[in-house]
């Protein structure tokens, strides 16, 4: 992440955000807290965003960064949720690795398509904004719904 994103005006801050992200992730995994993973991802994304400050052109490396962030999240949650007392049989681990690989490949492909579509000169307007807003609102609603759901 640091290799990809550093070099901008806020290099020190980018390094700091990257270090914080690593620290949060490492600390969370050490105490087996899965809740640290989204914070680590958001801190890394913030560092990347800071590096893009002042650059108007769309960065094609965002596809790689997004896929890497997903891989980080997947591996972090997998590590945190694996209990040391529960021994997983090899077919369980093989299946999870297979699904992870397939997911990363799909996510990369979708990201490429999205970025290509985004770079096309098509008229954007209220409809696109409405779709984006609806997606964001739906995501927030889902978060709230899951947060209030009893286990």
């Amino acid at each position: 992440m640091i290799v990809i994103t550093s070099g901008g005006r806020f290099t020190v801050l980018e390094y700091a955000l990257a270090a914080m992200s690593l620290g949060v992730l490492g600390g969370g995994l050490a105490v087996r807290r899965a809740g640290a993973a989204p914070w680590a991802v958001l801190l890394s994304a913030a560092g990347y965003l800071l590096a893009r400050h002042g650059h108007a052109a769309v960065d094609g490396r965002a596809v790689v960064v997004g896929t890497l962030l997903l891989a980080t999240g997947e591996l972090a949650y997998w590590s945190a949720e694996e209990h040391p007392r529960i021994r997983a049989e090899p077919p369980v681990i093989r299946r999870r690795l297979l699904l992870l690989g397939a997911l990363l490949a799909c996510a990369f492909a979708v990201d490429v398509l999205l970025l290509v579509a985004g770079s096309l000169a098509v008229p954007r307007g209220v409809l696109f904004a409405a779709v984006g807003t609806t997606a964001a609102v739906a995501a927030v609603a889902l978060v709230l719904r899951l947060g209030t759901q009893r286990p």
């Binding site: 899965a34 809740g35 993973a37 989204p38 991802v41 958001l42 994304a45 990347y48 965003l49 893009r52 769309v58 960065d59 965002a62 596809v63 960064v65 997004g66 896929t67 962030l69 997903l70 999240g73 997947e74 949650y77 997998w78 945190a80 949720e81 209990h83 007392r85 529960i86 021994r87 997983a88 049989e89 077919p91 369980v92 299946r95 999870r96 699904l99 997911l103 990363l104 799909c106 996510a107 990369f108 979708v110 990201d111 999205l114 970025l115 985004g118 770079s119 904004a129 984006g132 807003t133 997606a135 964001a136 995501a139 927030v140 889902l142 978060v143 899951l146 947060g147 759901q149 286990p151």
Partner: protein
Amino acid sequence: MLASPKLVGYTAISAVGLIASLVLARPELVALTAPFLVALAAGLAFARPPRLSVRVAVDDERLLEGEETTAHVIVSAASRADRLDVYFRLQGLEVVDGTNPVAVRLEAGERRDLELVARATRFGGHVLGPVYLRASDGLGFLRWEAAAVTRPHLRVYPREAVLRRVLEARDTEVFAGNTVARAKSEGIEFADLRRWSPGDPAKRINWRASARHTELQVNESHPERNSDVILFLDSFAEARHGAEGTLELAMRATATLADGYIRRRDRIGLIGFGGILRWLVPGGGIVQLYRLVDALLDTQIVLSYYWKDIDVIPPRTLPPNAHVIALSPLLDPRSVGALLDLRARGFDLTVIDVSPVPFTRRPPREPDTVAYDIWLLRRDALRHRLQRSGVAVTEWRSGESLQAGLEEVRAFRRRAHA
């Protein structure tokens, strides 16, 4: 169905990313967020609740301490389960082979028999299980949890120590046994001489004694009879440290004594006094031994809500002339009162004080040390009170030989009868 922390986390990341991309108008943020949306969509779309059935079984329902048995958890999957965590709660058993808990993967229609070889480490009646199951989808977004209702029972019998000698009862019964009775009848042990009377067989004439008398003299013998022994187990209260306590010690000693008396063809019975009054009428043979040990396994410390004012044993629960051997930590005044009542009713009573002292710790500071010393002195005074009542008492501590304690009692009874 439960949402995993991952589902909540990815949803939060997606929401923050989408809102930030709208606010900041950066297409790169969509590229960063889209993979998480793809993962959410894929995870939720392909997640299906698993359809499973579970059966639990144990190869042996009765074991001796230290023996091993195999427990089976048989899982049948009607639909695919990408990850199924299985945990079989085995209380009182130590797993020696197999993995517990374990995560497995099952295809639709697959049946798995998860075997666990377990060793019985502690005697008692154990209810095994439950078996906890947790299934999750392939990407870990959703979980389903359940517990199997089947809970097999396992009875682990104590390994008894072998006693060289047991206590002789003061009175005997009418059936043949190994105890030399005080009465005079047909037997091996010489008892007395008496004058010959019509009907005495010629083989019983003592010719040497007859030569010294003017009339024929015959030998009288003590017959060998059995006796009734009642084992009195005090379960009102116990002292415990870690996995061991006075109740376990008392139960082991009870099983050992029962085995010793059954070998002598005596009849043994059991009274479990504590909370609930339980008794087993005296009987003989190996069947009675197993019946008694089964009753021991059902004994446990219960809150004394039952028969709060009971401090005496109802008269008809004890056969007359029975030798009562009580195994008690002498902690509860109700059990002490019951023992003194038994002695007052004229029963031949022996008390084995299963000492709670090794399960306590001497306090480091005063005045706690003073209180501790007073407690020890009160226990000594209680034993003396029982001895003054004619009860043979011995203090038996964990790690000491039960045989040594019985010899101490035998010496007291010999002096008392003399």
